[in-house]
């Protein structure tokens, strides 16, 4: 059984933060490829979110999220108090535009190719005389 004090704290955090990411590492320094993928998606959508590094208390937090959401693996993205999913679901929902909708933000242009750096928006070509 999970640590009930920790569970209560986690439930408070989920309730207090509209968008909350449980991840391995930090947004600036993800320590796991799956966590990094979710951070990249959130950055592209330019949303504010809370992030919790689960590594210092991995096993207790795993037990807590198992009780709260029936989900053991990290990352976990919570939106409006509900677990939306891990990296697979978040990416799939991002590609389809569902994530932007759930977060109430605009789908960025060129979102289908997350690995591409943004194209500089130069002026149209002109011929100088």
């Amino acid at each position: 059984m999970a640590d009930q004090e920790l569970k209560q704290r986690v439930q408070e955090l989920i309730a207090e933060n509209q968008v909350l990411l449980f991840m391995k590492g930090t947004p600036d320094m993800p320590r796991c490829g799956f966590s990094m993928r979710v951070v990249q998606v959130l950055d592209q959508l330019d949303v504010e979110y809370g992030a919790i590094d689960v590594l210092p208390a991995l096993q207790p937090l795993r037990e807590v999220t198992t009780e709260i959401s029936d989900w053991q693996t990290f990352p976990q993205l919570y939106v409006n108090g509900e677990l939306l999913g891990g990296a697979d679901i978040v990416e799939e929902m991002f590609d389809s535009g569902e994530l932007a909708e759930a977060l109430g933000v605009e789908q960025p242009a060129g979102a289908a190719a997350p690995a591409q750096p943004e194209q500089p928006q130069g002026p149209p070509l002109q011929i100088e005389r």
Binding site: D70, W71, L83, L84, G85, D88, I89, E92, M93
Partner: protein, 72 residues
């Protein structure tokens, strides 16, 4: 195993590492109708839980979808 838990499901398993412990499953099942993605994944993960518990699978990457039925 997934087909047994979700009758009528179409399942494709890809072995990502060649060691058969990091798998990707593409599952299309009529039972997913009306469920959020997270609930669809919960159904599949529940179906293969024993394989995680005994350590024969370490990671399962999932893609779920609802099959296009005759009504569509």
């Amino acid at each position: 195993m997934i087909e047994a838990a979700l009758p009528g499901a179409e399942v494709e398993i890809l072995d990502q590492t060649g060691a058969a412990d990091h798998l990707e499953a593409i599952v299309s099942a009529p039972q997913f109708e009306g469920l959020s993605r997270i609930d669809q994944h919960r159904l599949v993960k529940a179906a293969v839980k024993t394989r995680f518990d005994d350590g024969s699978i370490h990671a399962l990457s999932l893609k779920t979808s609802i099959p296009a039925g005759p009504h569509q």
